[in-house]
């Protein structure tokens, strides 16, 4: 540990400014979304919330099929989250605690695959998904994201740190099956890591934009992000409507983050990149 200096008052002032700047655009978005649209040009833009939030929310739901979008986003993010946690856990456990030929080289493939930028394969991925008949269907965004290199990497680290190799060996000697050993020895030890992975994956899938925009039909199967981009696409000059949509799209994420954010902060402190 470095010897840490006590923070002077000015440090708190600066940090308050930093956190203020972090939160201001969101606050402002909420403030506008609680205003009557006609009031926006009249009052100073730095303003207090008004009383029209729920009215604007209703207008968002009247203008676009926001319920459908929320439902789709929940299905996508939920499925991707559960599947990533399960599949990454078993794969990470295998790489960390099981012996099999080619383990190290296969893991290098996992690590290497994380380096490839997502956009590189987007055109052929579209052709492929289209061939499967998935254009405009949620499978198109779910299936390619079922498990990620990052998740496997993350859960392998978790197993190496938290799962006792002695316990695994003892269970094997006792004749327990691999799956049983995983369930009774590894799972209890890696629960909190799995929870962080769940949150990271959910946020990533909820916020994903480029691929859903490419492969989903905005009129048939939009996600929240796709609907938001439509609200902002210039057909509407209704600022209150756009910003209410933005606020609604961010709200679940902020709630989740306020509940679990410190675990995410801690995991970033261990050097992960999840964006």
């Amino acid at each position: 540990m470095t010897r840490r200096r006590r923070a002077g008052a000015w440090v708190y002032v600066v940090l308050t400014g930093v956190v203020g700047a972090s939160i201001f655009p969101l606050y402002w978005s909420f403030a506008v979304s609680s205003r009557d649209n006609s009031a926006i040009g009249e009052v100073s833009p730095l303003m207090l919330p008004g009383g029209h939030f729920f009215e604007n929310v209703r207008r968002v739901f009247d203008t676009v099929d926001f319920w459908l979008a929320i439902g789709n986003s929940l299905i996508v993010a939920g499925t991707v989250m559960v599947s990533n946690v399960v599949l990454s856990s078993v794969a990470g456990y295998a790489f960390a605690r099981l012996r099999f030929p080619g383990r190290n080289s296969l893991f290098l493939v996992v690590a290497g695959s994380a380096m490839v930028p997502a956009q590189l394969g987007v055109v052929p991925l579209y052709l492929l998904v289209n061939d499967f008949g998935w254009y405009g269907r949620l499978e198109a965004v779910i299936v390619p994201a079922l498990v990620s290199a990052f998740g496997v990497f993350w859960m392998r680290q978790a197993c190496e740190g938290a799962v006792s190799a002695e316990l695994v060996d003892a269970a094997t000697v006792d004749g327990a099956s691999v799956l049983r050993t995983f369930w009774h020895v590894a799972v209890p030890a890696i629960r909190s890591h799995a929870a962080v992975l769940a949150m990271i994956t959910f946020l990533g899938a909820w916020n994903d934009y480029f691929w859903p925009l490419v492969v989903l039909d905005p009129a048939e199967a939009p996600t929240v992000q796709v609907v938001l981009s439509q609200l902002a696409s210039g057909y509407y000059t209704d600022y209150a409507l756009m910003l209410t949509g933005a606020t609604l799209g961010v709200l679940p994420v902020i709630v989740l983050f306020l509940l679990l954010g410190r675990y995410l902060v801690r995991s970033i402190a261990s050097g992960v990149r999840y964006g």
């Binding site: 470095t2 708190y12 940090l15």
Partner: protein, 303 residues
């Protein structure tokens, strides 16, 4: 459960590990490796996104690409926005990390607070910032007006639009980078600070000669990861173009490589060209990542 040594138990020990890793490799093979190879194949043909392969095997798409002024325009825009965002982001993140590294009351809350922008969806960021930069009723112009600056039409100019988009990127990533630097700072060995103190180094000097070199791996990490991310910039500029047809302004003044890829591939259906463009974007990423990594190694010497 089979006894140890029984056939079933041996099969289980041999096969189950492969079953555990199989899903990853299945998904990776179909949706990762295959598209990668296929990109090369598609890029070598005149390929329509809907009509399919129209023949013409060769490097025609690459030749067209390297003679395409819009490609160079997008390249300059992407790199310009990236640098405009990355340089201040780096220094701000270092500074914030140094502040967060002090003995703070409620340190978790401050750390969580600076991370908020990073969990918000880029689409929401794009929508909100586009309104903040609005010409008539935007907050930014209002505030500039207090200082007597006339309203700026942020979307219209090259520099103004680049600045605006860069500010969205900075807003999103500065806190995230600060937390990575913070984590690394907390692992810098104590004796280096004691040595610096014995040498009578000033705080400023200690920061640049001990702390910053001490977190070099973290800086290299953010340089490489941030480059790959920055060069794939799409959502922020695309949403900043509200009503402009997605080409990054009337004169494409803020069209990025990813936006051009989207335009060519998914609105003009020229899959061959878009595939060639993907490869070039990838190579640009690699070149910049290596250059940035080298810069970090060269200018941030080890302690």
């Amino acid at each position: 459960m089979g006894k140890r040594g029984s056939f079933v138990a041996r099969l289980d020990r041999k096969a189950t590990p492969f079953l555990f890793i199989a899903p990853f490799f299945a998904v990776f093979a179909v949706f990762g490796v295959f598209p990668l190879l296929y990109t090369t194949w598609v890029s070598l043909h005149d390929w329509d996104l809907l009509a399919g392969n129209r023949g013409g095997f060769g490097f025609a798409n690459y030749v067209e690409l390297f003679g395409d002024p819009r490609f160079y325009n997008a390249l300059v825009n992407t790199v310009g926005i990236f640098l405009l965002a990355a340089v201040p982001e780096f220094f701000l993140a270092l500074g914030f990390a140094e502040l967060l590294n002090r003995k703070l009351r409620g340190s978790t809350w401050w750390q969580t607070g600076v991370l908020v922008p990073n969990v918000v969806s880029v689409v929401a960021v794009g929508v909100v910032f586009t309104q903040l930069y609005g010409r008539d009723f935007g907050v930014v112009n209002e505030v500039l007006g207090w200082f007597g600056v006339p309203p700026v039409n942020w979307q219209a100019g090259r520099w103004s639009s680049h600045l605006a988009v860069a500010s969205m990127v900075m807003w999103r990533w500065t806190g995230y980078n600060a937390l990575i630097y913070l984590a690394a700072m907390q692992a810098v060995p104590q004796d280096l600070y004691e040595a610096a103190e014995l040498d009578g180094a000033s705080r400023w000097r200690t920061f640049w000669s001990v702390t910053v070199p001490g977190i070099r791996p973290a800086i290299a990490f953010t340089a490489v990861a941030g480059t790959v991310n920055g060069l794939q910039l799409f959502a922020e500029p695309q949403l900043f173009d509200a009503g402009g047809g997605g080409t990054g302004g009337n004169d494409r003044q803020f069209q990025t490589l990813a936006m051009y890829l989207y335009e060519k591939g998914f609105t003009k259906f020229d899959a061959g060209y878009a595939a060639a463009l993907s490869w070039v974007v990838f190579l640009v990423c690699v070149v910049f990542a290596v250059v940035n990594y080298r810069l970090v190694r060269r200018f941030v010497s080890s302690p």
